[in-house]
């Protein structure tokens, strides 16, 4: 009897193992090297003389206004013709693919989703489906879909820290969007920031498509005017801030808390090697959740939250909370637009990438998504999103993000040991 029982249990386990092995055998081949070279060439060498043929591409989708000088005008006209041809080709291709696109991204304002869906349908005939996820879920889903060869998410808009790592794994396609090359446009962040990154050679191109600038949320009732912080350094050296008055996200894990340490050290570490120890001595409080941390400032539990953005402060108005920026500038949180390798909707994905970098795309983002436009020709919808006015701290290279930034996790664990 006992032997029979063991036999049955063994059979169950063996069956599951066999299924697992079958599943893994199907899924484990590493993703092949990028096959987008031809696509890229085709995309970038589209004849500028080809007139746009699609009726679904109205003139309003023009990425920008025409420049004024004649030479610039000629260059822009040439680019525009090429751009229109590319868009027409992509619209045609997207239609043949079924006119659908699934986008994995972090949560954005629903109004942004709604407006973008309308825009993409009206102008390009593409139905966009947004799937809002946590960053860990985006990573897990993209990796699993790539390994299994079942791509559902055609396009990923991801935070630079993990989107770049997924790109290094070879999960994204290379496509140089013409919208990123528009003549005469001044970019507040170079959309092709990672174009020459050695680790991405032969891999995908992940242009910067969105930005938020993060400042400091302060409680305007509790912080007197003369104590309003001017520099990040104030939080480390001014005794006013001592004693559980500052809230940050836990610096012992990825996020704004970790970046606060990184920038404190980068900006002031040379002149004051003890800057991080001094900051720790101020007894900042950690919170897991940005929503709760922001509310802690609004209700007066904390006086300031380092690493806050307009989207978290705006819903709390008219409570006594305000987003301010330090003289060193705001911390820019960038999002990358990534076309997923193996997508069955590559044309729709390229259209979406171009849209995100276009003037209309950036306008929708700032008006409905509360983001900071990365194009200087798009007016920010709120003063707190004006990167030109507040300035931004230096962008982190991929090397900084993948090798330097993680060291601050260890520093944080030494400063605030987990007991």
């Amino acid at each position: 009897m006992k032997a029979k029982f063991k036999l049955q249990v063994s059979a169950v386990i063996l069956s599951i193992l066999a299924l697992t092995v079958a599943a893994c055998a199907k899924g484990t081949p590493a993703p092949s090297s990028p096959a987008a070279t031809t696509t890229t060439k085709a995309a970038t060498s589209s004849s500028p003389t080809t007139a746009p043929t699609s009726k679904t591409t109205p003139a309003t989708t023009a990425p920008s206004a025409k420049p004024s000088t004649t030479a610039a005008q000629t260059e822009w006209d040439k680019w525009k013709a090429s751009y229109d041809a590319e868009i027409a080709k992509l619209v045609d291709g997207a239609k043949k693919e079924g006119g659908k696109l699934t986008v994995y991204l972090p949560q954005e304002d629903q109004a942004y989703f709604d407006e973008t869906v309308k825009y993409m349908k009206k102008n390009y005939g593409v139905d966009v489906e947004f799937v809002a996820l946590r960053s860990s879920d985006v990573q897990a889903k993209v990796a699993a879909e790539q390994t299994a060869g079942k791509v559902i998410g055609d396009y990923v808009q991801g935070g630079s820290s993990y989107a770049r790592r997924l790109n290094e794994k070879g999960y994204f396609d290379h496509y140089l969007p013409p919208a990123a090359q528009e003549p005469g446009v001044k970019w507040l962040v170079d959309p092709l920031l990672d174009k020459n990154e050695a680790k991405f050679a032969g891999k995908g191109l992940t242009p910067v498509v969105a930005m938020s600038i993060l400042g400091v949320a302060v409680n305007t009732q509790l912080v007197p005017a003369e104590k309003m912080p001017k520099s990040y350094k104030d939080f480390a050296i001014d005794p006013f801030w001592k004693g559980k008055k500052i809230v940050i996200t836990d610096p012992r894990t990825d996020g704004q808390g970790q970046q606060t340490l990184y920038y404190l050290d980068k900006l002031f570490g040379r002149e004051d090697p003890q800057i991080l120890q001094k900051f720790a001595a101020q007894e900042p409080v950690f919170q897991q959740d940005n929503t709760i941390a922001s509310r802690g400032v609004a209700t007066g539990l904390y006086m300031a939250m380092i690493g806050s953005r307009l989207a978290w402060v705006q819903p709390l108005q008219p409570a006594p909370i305000k987003l301010i920026f330090m003289k060193e500038g705001g911390n820019s949180s960038i999002a990358l637009g990534c076309i997923v390798k193996g997508t069955t909707h590559p044309n729709a994905a390229k259209l979406f990438l171009n849209f995100q970098l276009s003037k209309d795309g950036q306008r929708l983002y700032t008006e409905f998504g509360g983001r900071t436009p990365i194009r200087a020709d798009v007016k920010p919808a709120a003063d707190e999103n004006n990167a030109s006015k507040w300035g931004v701290l230096p962008q982190r290279s991929y090397d900084d993000e993948s090798t330097v930034l993680p060291k601050y996790l260890d520093i944080a664990k030494q400063l605030w040991p987990i007991k």
Binding site: W312, Q317, A319
Partner: protein, 578 residues
């Protein structure tokens, strides 16, 4: 002639036994596949960086690193004592509430029961925020109130503390334990109590010497269930513990999966510890129960018994009402009040608004989310309870050798933290080779299936706690009269277990509707549900809109609860008529 009868009975018994055995083996295969396949994929994923490493590159370094790190054991000890403390509080209060409502003549018992159950319908995240609004140091509403009447200095009451974690962490689980215990309390036959009383035992002696021993299996199961949920608990610890630098095991797991790149290996290596704890808990439960009999529903007829509390009944009523006020009315009131203010918990001039309701109801995906939630909830609860009933029946009512394995399998989905188990589901079903071009990944069907598996412990424990008190003589009598095993199950067992089944159904429905950890990994845009919408609003910082959606979610479950109550009443009256 008598020899012939004996022989025929023997043949019938053997035939029936073999049919039953085949069924049990098939059930073991099905549950084994549903539970172990995601787990095995999780294990493989932990060895190759979440299926992102090169083929064949299996690596155990994370396991070695985790288990040679002293902090792992420090966190484990803290997690265990916190779990034990909260389990004790939650089980004692839940058992007291169940006893008062089912075994005494406390006034308005039906209302009290409905209120306690309704509490379980509220989503956890907004509820914790309500407690933060009330009990955060210095500026919490309770502290502000206390300051007006008492000379409170300093922080006052502080929810960001061990006390806060224990209070919120135990109170959020009391309603489900209560729901879990009620059928067992209801099932005690009046004749047993009356025999005890007529033999001279006092009310309290009868309670301690007769009722409590009869409730031992249900109490033990509730304790085990509560303990495992407390060990696996994450949200209260993360939101309330971190500001006080209180770390637990699941916080460490969260850190592993929330960083870039995600450290699946460490997260899963840590989760293995919880799997061991679950197995150990279950073995202890088996040993404690041993071969004791706890049957109370027998073939001799059944009468419910309610103790007369006399003049104390209003005191007890006030006590229960106080609990409901603390656990439901106050936080719910704060949330509803907050949903009509510009910023919940912040007093300001001209603070009232309908904007959050307008915003929630103007969402284009609200109807779609509601529809998906209802379909998923109905399917999950119905299929889940059928499967759970079959498992519980085999575990409790048969002596097949396979029942222990089945019992353990049905517990495993709660042994792994939900955030890790969700990865197991993702990897399991994305890699599963399916015939005929069937697509499961990203569909509502897959989300339903994953939730059925995830909540198997809840469904099967609820049914087991009811079945354990059902006397075998009823089935034996049916079998002696020639009914098949299936016929006995359908005609005798199911009608007697109806109330327990319906209670379990509503629990599963609520669990499906409220779940976020599993569905967020598996959903796609067409399969949006209310909980992913609540998450979205929360992540946007629109907490008040999230509250409105949370209230809609709770009302949906309440509606299902009342519908199920109606069904339950009709069912009971039809059984009685039959």
């Amino acid at each position: 002639m008598s020899q012939l009868t004996t022989a025929i009975t023997g043949i019938r018994a053997r035939a029936s036994l073999s049919t039953g055995r085949v069924f049990v083996i098939l059930l073991l295969f099905l549950v084994g596949f549903l539970v172990l396949y995601p787990l095995v994929m999780l294990f493989f994923g932990s060895l190759n960086e979440g299926f992102t490493a090169s083929r064949g590159n299996l690596d155990f370094h994370a396991y070695i690193k985790i288990y040679t790190d002293a902090s792992t054991y420090t966190l484990l000890l803290r997690t265990l004592w916190l779990a034990i403390a909260r389990t004790a509080i939650a089980v004692i209060i839940a058992a007291f509430l169940a006893w008062v409502i089912t075994r005494t003549n406390v006034p308005f018992a039906g209302f009290l029961q409905a209120m306690i159950m309704f509490n379980w319908f509220m989503p956890m995240l907004p509820k914790i925020l309500a407690w933060i609004i009330l009990l955060q140091p210095k500026v919490g509403l309770v502290n502000q109130l206390l300051r007006t009447v008492l000379p409170v200095t300093g922080d006052g009451l502080n929810i960001y503390s061990y006390g806060g974690i224990i209070f919120v962490g135990s109170f959020v689980w009391i309603p489900i334990l209560f729901i879990f215990l009620v059928p067992a309390f209801k099932a005690i036959d009046a004749s047993l109590i009356e025999s005890s009383r007529s033999s001279g035992a006092s009310v309290w002696t009868t309670m301690w010497r007769v009722e409590l021993p009869l409730l031992a299996p249900a109490m033990l199961a509730a304790t085990a269930l509560a303990f495992l949920r407390m060990v696996e608990s994450f949200t209260p610890e993360a939101l309330l513990g971190l500001p006080a630098n209180i770390y637990v095991f699941t916080t460490k797991i969260y850190h592993s999966i929330s960083k870039a790149p995600t450290d699946y290996s460490s997260a899963t290596a840590l989760a293995v510890t919880l799997l061991i704890i679950t197995t150990a808990t279950l073995i202890i439960q088996w040993k404690l129960l041993g071969k004791k009999q706890f049957t109370t529903i027998t073939g001799r007829g059944f009468r419910a018994y309610r103790m007369d509390l006399g003049k104390w009944k209003w005191v007890v009523f006030a006590g229960v009402l106080l609990f409901i006020a603390i656990d439901l009315f106050v936080p719910m009131g704060v949330l509803i009040w907050g949903s009509f203010t510009k910023v919940a918990g912040v007093f300001m001039p001209d603070m009232y608004t309908f904007a959050h309701y307008k915003r929630a109801f103007s969402s284009a995906i609200l109807m779609k989310g509601l529809q998906n939630t209802i379909v998923m909830g109905l399917a999950m609860a119905s299929i889940g309870m059928i499967l759970s009933s079959l498992i519980a029946y085999v575990v409790v009512k048969t002596r097949f050798k396979e029942r222990r394995a089945l019992d353990l399998l049905a517990y495993i989905p709660w042994a792994i933290p939900a955030m890790i188990m969700a990865l197991g589901f993702l990897w399991a079903y994305i890699f599963l080779p399916l015939p005929f071009g069937i697509k499961l990944y990203g569909t509502l069907a897959l989300m339903t299936m994953a939730l059925i598996v995830k909540e198997l412990p809840l469904g099967s424990r609820t049914m087991a706690s009811t079945m354990v008190q059902l006397s075998n003589e009823l089935e034996e009598s049916s079998r002696v009269h020639g009914a098949t095993w299936a016929k006995t199950f359908r005609s005798i067992v199911l009608p007697l277990l109806g109330p327990g089944f319906l209670a379990g159904w509503i629990l599963l429905f609520a669990a499906a509707v409220k779940d976020l950890a599993t569905v967020i990994v598996l959903y796609s845009s067409p399969s949006t549900v209310i909980s992913t919408m609540i998450f979205g609003k929360w992540a946007e910082g629109q907490f008040e809109v999230a509250i409105v959606l949370g209230v809609i979610q709770a009302l949906l479950i309440a509606l299902a609860y009342f519908a199920m109550n109606l069904v339950s009443r009709k069912f009971t009256s039809s059984v009685q008529a039959g």
